[in-house]
């Protein structure tokens, strides 16, 4: 209710703003010979084509906008560390900067803003960015909210996942051919899952005569992000993220009664050998290795990955390998009838802002407007260039060219696009149409059964500086303790009788203070 009201308010405000209105710019709005913007960001995910090299799509955008881009790029895995030092030193800042540590956590955005490193953009947007104004204040007010800082200013624009979130979701990928071989149905409750996993372990579905199957495994550093997809059977939102937003209340899922039951269930799986004896594999290459040995019964990932796991498993050479099939199945339902809730990926990813050293913020904002919100520029960024990466059909829809769809170097769609400079991770504003074209037909179809249960995750609220300091200081100990205890409960090193004292200890460490901070952030989010 509250949320609606606030959205309405935002919309009304936005309308009044828009009517004051940004005027449409004419292309090119820059002078190619003199106008340059420096952009610091993580480099292209397709490593063979650095943004710093001439790439067709990015070059064409330079021509259209009349703005040359000086790419100041760092290897993505090291970007945050490098840029934190550079921003802290505060000398020689780029015009536009990808904010370090901003993927999945907007903690640092407001921090840099309050240090004066990032400049407020809303007035510039109102004045110079007609498409962006329309997008964040009219078409997607939730995006506008996600971009607004606690002090009411807008300091950043962010990668927008909306389009792909509606198409693909993470979920449980299960060896359905093993089900068929063992005459089992797709499990829908915790008990049925137990039966299926037990059968995987004991009835040799891969047919090699050994009980070497690993019925269930996880590869992430936080095992709950995979095992957590079974948490729905105990009324938890999957994967079991620590905090969820239940009608405006910040709820710590670890404190819910279902969480203890969930751990008890996982403990049963572990002690009976139905779960990876390693608990979690720690990295994805190990996951691929086990799949390619035809050992893995189930784990959670994006639907697209099913094809990869399947392809490797088919070559394992076990009697049943050739039939290998991974399909996305829905998380189990709870016995008490609580509906299945799957947490979607957050709305926004990488964030970027304009720094105080930018000599021509007007140009920077226009450029961002063009590549992010202008339908023409946005589509060039996403799809690339007509003829090169796509062709337009009679009905106006697009089809990938062979270069993208059947890439001569064996690249998938995302990598093929990136090899010519399209679909740069940080700057993509993903539309639904694009999402449908990015993922394979099969992945999109399989995700459908799951996507309907998606709810929004805990919103990424920008924290104030005090909040950030407090969170950093509290969560260092609490996170350590919780991850330790959760593993001990699951592997049976600590008896589940100790669960209550575990939560008690966390409260003693300041667990409630942490919850209060998140609650305060949530309140701010809804009152905006």
């Amino acid at each position: 209710m509250k949320k609606w009201l606030s959205m309405l308010l935002v919309a009304v405000m936005a309308l009044s703003l828009v009517s004051a209105g940004a005027e449409e710019y004419t292309l090119p709005f820059g002078n190619y010979d003199t106008d340059t913007l420096t952009i610091a960001c993580g480099d292209n995910y397709y490593a063979a084509a650095s943004y710093a090299e001439p790439l067709e799509v990015l070059e064409s955008i330079e021509k259209t906008t009349g703005v040359q881009i000086a790419w100041d790029v760092t290897v993505p895995s090291q970007y945050d560390e490098v840029m934190r030092v550079r921003l802290a030193a505060g000398v020689d800042l780029p015009d536009i900067v990808q904010i370090p540590g901003s993927y999945g956590n907007k903690g640092e955005v407001f921090s840099y803003a309050s240090q004066g490193i990032l400049i407020p953009l809303e007035d510039l947007i109102k004045q110079y960015a007609p498409n962006l104004s329309k997008l964040i204040w009219e078409e997607m007010p939730e995006l506008g909210e996600a971009l607004t800082a606690p002090d009411g200013h807008i300091y950043h624009i962010a990668q927008n996942f909306d389009g792909t979130n509606k198409v693909a979701s993470k979920g449980l990928l299960l060896r359905t051919d093993w089900l068929t071989a063992l005459n089992l149905e797709v499990p829908t409750t915790a008990d049925e899952w137990y039966t299926v996993l037990k059968a995987f372990k004991e009835q040799d579905p891969n047919g090699n005569g050994q009980a070497d199957e690993i019925p269930l495994t996880a590869f992430g550093s936080n095992p709950l992000s995979e095992y957590g997809y079974l948490g729905t059977a105990f009324g938890l939102a999957a994967p079991v993220a620590k905090y969820i937003d239940v009608d405006g209340a910040a709820v710590c899922q670890y404190d819910l009664p279902g969480f203890k039951d969930f751990l008890t269930f996982l403990n049963k799986l572990y002690t009976e050998g139905l779960m990876d004896p390693q608990y979690t594999l720690g990295d994805e290459s190990k996951m691929n290795a086990l799949c390619s040995k035809d050992l893995v019964g189930c784990s959670a990932h994006y639907a697209d990955i099913a094809e990869l796991w399947e392809g490797t498993a088919k070559q394992a050479g076990n009697p049943n390998s050739a039939a290998a099939e991974y399909h996305m199945v829905c998380s189990p339902k709870a016995e008490d009838g609580t509906e299945i809730r799957l947490l979607a990926r957050a709305l926004t990813g990488f964030c970027y802002g304009v720094t105080r050293d930018c000599k021509n913020p007007e140009l920077a904002v226009k450029w961002l407007d063009y590549i992010y919100a202008n339908p023409e520029g946005r589509d060039t960024m996403l799809y690339g260039l007509e003829g090169l990466t796509y062709t337009v059909n009679a009905d106006g829809s697009k089809t990938w060219t062979d270069f993208v769809a059947k890439n001569p170097d064996g690249l998938n769609v995302a990598s093929a696009l990136r090899s010519v400079g399209a679909f740069p991770a940080q700057f993509s504003n993903r539309t639904l149409d694009f999402g449908k074209m990015l993922y394979s037909q099969r992945a999109a179809e399989e995700s459908e059964a799951v996507v309907q249960y998606q709810i929004l995750p805990f919103p990424q609220v920008m924290g104030t500086e005090e909040e950030l300091d407090e969170i950093a200081s509290l969560s260092a100990d609490i996170d350590t303790y919780e991850s330790e205890m959760i593993q001990n409960f699951i592997t049976g090193q600590t008896s589940l009788d100790g669960f209550d004292s575990f939560r008690e200890t966390v409260r003693g460490m300041g667990g409630d203070d942490l919850t209060n901070i998140y609650q305060a952030q949530l309140d701010r989010y809804y009152q905006k």
Partner: protein, 301 residues
Amino acid sequence: MIQIQKSNHHAIRRSGSDITIDVVVWFIGLLALVVTLVPFLHVIAMSVSDPSLVSRQEIYLWPKGVNFDAYRMVMQNKMFWTNYGNTLWIVCVGTLVNIFLTVTLAYPMSRTQFFLRRPIMKLITFTMFFSGGLIPLFIIVNKTGLYNTRWAVILPYAINTYNLIVCRTFFEGIPDSLVESARLDGANDIRVLFSIVLPLSKAILAVLVLFYAVAHWNSYFPAMLFIPKTDLQPVQVYLIRVLIQDTEALAEEGSAGYSRALIVEQLKYAVIIVTVLPVAVLYPFLQKYFVQGVMIGAIKG
């Protein structure tokens, strides 16, 4: 000299304990050989095997289904060679700078009668413990105009205090009488260093070359921080970029091409070979300076 020594060894009748030592030494040598060769063979085998077997982690010490795709992928890019050239430049120039500064500082620090020796050694040791961190260093690199030049990864790392102290300790082992007699002959300290001390210190110079060159060769973080310009970066930065390819994209998108996902695992190993080989061959060349008796020979000559 060596010859004489060898014959001397043989001239002495072997006692029981000598034979025990021989056996123990052989045993240690063989053990070291096996234990250290294993990881290396593993890496080589992984880098040239069939990617699908690599991804299954079924390769141990011997390659199966020989395949050089990973090498091709590492080296196909123009930038690889540009960056390789930068690395060579940085290693050569950097090591020269390192050796020069280390030796010229280590020598005065090794003269026990030098009145500034103790205060300066204390100042230097202090920096092993207290440093202002990267942020002020970044500002200095920026202010001195080194930013975005290859010197930015050389000058701020011109002396490694650990190496300096090792070098000084070695210099201290050189008999004072040698230095004194040269000084009586009228040579000043600079001449003594270059014409008496250094010729006696080939072993430690070899160690310094090795330590510094390898450190330059392996270093990447300063380059990322101080040299944003891609075509000035060393090859390590390029290789890290190649390595993370798709693995990060996988985490972000949950999508990666099937054949590429396989090869990414293998790339890691090809990258090691590509980077290790050039420095690994450095050692055998330097080894000849680790010969006992060089010093005395030089003194007598």
